[in-house]
């Protein structure tokens, strides 16, 4: 499936001050092999039924996430919950446009999540920049910076569209197609180069584990 070409080479962490460098990991992420097919299918079934969203609002679209918790939309019945910490969550919802400043937080949060991790990008802005297509400080396509599993188009997509997007994500997970974590590890250099191209003041570790 995936070719393991990246060895855990020391990352320089050059954005950090020398005394801070040893506090952070200096190895690149590696890709993970799944268990045997039948076990992995069972795991994927459980993963699809228990989606924990990282509760960060990274753009204006995050406001469409809140109604999902209410009685009207009730995301809990699909096994979807919000978790406040990236360590425990498995789905990262990019809530619309991402400014360069937000992208730093997105990258750090994404890297801190435990795999397998899934990304749902919400709104036109994450696909092609949307109405911010010519803005100097927003990025155009989120999947050049982190791997994305599902896009939900619209400006803004309604909560119903979000729920439909989550159903699609579940289908992909159950089919074993949501391997964003491995994709990120394999193409780590490419993603990092893209990130560093737009984030001029890179003052964070090269990989937040």
């Amino acid at each position: 499936m995936f070719v393991k070409k990246l060895k855990p080479a020391p990352l320089a962490n050059e954005g950090l001050r020398p005394e801070e460098r040893e506090l952070f990991c200096d190895a690149a992420p590696t890709s993970y092999k799944g268990a045997t097919k039948i076990v992995e299918d069972f795991y994927n079934w459980a993963r699809a039924q228990s989606l924990w969203i990282l509760g960060f609002g990274t753009g204006c679209g995050a406001i469409e996430l809140r109604p999902l918790m209410t009685s009207r939309f009730d995301m809990y019945r699909y096994g979807i919950q919000a978790r406040p910490t990236p360590r425990q969550s498995s789905v990262f919802v990019i809530g619309g446009y991402a400014s360069v400043k937000t992208l730093k937080r997105i990258v750090r949060s994404y890297e801190q999540m435990m795999g397998p991790k899934f990304v749902v990008a919400l709104g036109s802005c994450t696909i092609n920049g949307g109405m911010y297509w010519d803005s100097y400080n927003t990025i155009k396509r989120i999947d050049q910076y982190i791997p994305v599993d599902v896009y939900i188009a619209g400006c803004m997509p309604r909560p119903e569209a979000l729920l439909a997007g989550f159903q699609e994500l579940k289908r992909i997970i159950r089919a074993g197609g949501a391997e964003g974590q491995n994709e990120y590890a394999i193409n780590f250099d490419w993603y990092k180069a893209n990130q560093k191209k737009v984030i001029k003041n890179w003052d964070m570790p090269d990989y937040s584990w």
Binding site: D74, R77, T85, R87, Q88, M114, G115, P116
Partner: protein
């Protein structure tokens, strides 16, 4: 015939298996009942199982040192230890666990042992929100322990023993022999303490579900979180069984155990859905106020 030690260990495993599954289903069903109160459909009853499988099936995990790994182990040891020294079903060979080997004081120690171990582990995680959660948890625990301990003192005076099996035995023979009928003040104090112990609303600020500080387990993930989730079920079951034994006459069969513990747990949901959350300082003031006075009154009444 007295079973051999090996058979008793085997029975203990069966008992633990039953209480784990019962605890998980209880958490699932109570979440669903809460959802109905809020006019929602709610998560499936089996959702806690899925969450544990999901957490345990994570492909990578992060550690912060030896104590970080030991935190969930201590927590789980606290949960299993609490349950192992309580008879789940009175007069049952299979479900009496090792209740003859330890008494009420040991069980009370085990209830708090897990939390202290977790505090050490979460502290090593280094996340400031863990420290906030731990300090809130320990502060609230110190407060609700006062009415709980007073209530225990009252029933120990009343029955003249620390042996849980003997306390259950003294309550057999009908509803009027239960502690809830013979010493209602002690039961009221203990049930209020139970609300704090279960960390449901209005005393849920410690774990603060779904907010930025999720409490002590902020930094826990993957299989460590799976362990904590499993422990939650065991610990809930153990506390419910303890309350049933001390205050509601115990159970003579598994079905009665299920009915009684379900109703005791339901108090949490009933109160939790009716009252908003208190801040930590408010809950400390609350526990050290009226519930403590009720506890003192129950001790005085039991003594005279």
């Amino acid at each position: 015939m007295e079973p051999t030690l090996l058979a008793r260990v085997g029975y203990a495993f069966i008992s633990l298996f039953v209480i784990t599954n019962y605890g998980l289903l209880l958490i699932g069903s109570m979440a669903r009942i809460s959802a109905k109160v809020q006019g929602r459909v709610g998560q499936p009853v089996y959702q806690p199982y899925l969450d544990i499988v999901k957490s345990s099936a994570k492909r990578n995990s992060i550690g912060h040192g030896v104590m970080f790994y030991l935190g969930p182990v201590f927590r789980l040891a606290g949960g299993i230890g609490t349950f192992m020294f309580i008879p789940a079903v009175y007069d049952s060979v299979m479900f009496r666990n090792f209740s003859d080997a330890g008494d009420l004081l040991l069980v009370m120690y085990f209830i708090f042992f897990g939390q202290l171990g977790m505090a050490l582990g979460a502290g090593e995680g280094g996340h400031p929100y863990s420290a906030i959660g731990v300090s809130r948890g320990l502060a609230q625990m110190t407060a609700f322990e006062v009415p709980f301990a007073l209530s225990i003192v009252a029933i120990v005076i009343q029955y003249g023993t620390l042996d849980i099996t003997a306390i259950v035995a003294a309550q057999q023979g009908g509803f009027l022999n239960w502690t809830v009928a013979t010493n209602p003040l002690a039961v009221v104090a203990a049930l209020i303490a139970f609300l704090g112990m279960s960390m449901h609303n209005p005393f849920s600020v410690v774990i603060a579900p779904q907010e930025i500080p999720i409490g002590p387990p902020t930094e826990y993930q993957s299989n460590l979180l799976g362990m904590l989730q499993t422990n939650r079920a065991i610990f809930n079951g153990a506390k419910l069984v303890l309350y049933m034994n001390l205050y509601f006459g115990g159970a003579t069969n598994l079905a009665m155990m299920v009915v009684k513990t379900f109703l005791i747990y339901f108090i949490n949901v009933f109160v939790g859905q009716s009252f908003p959350r208190l801040r930590t300082d408010q809950s400390i003031r609350f526990f050290l106020g009226v519930p403590t006075l009720i506890g003192i009154a129950s001790v005085i009444i039991a003594a005279i």
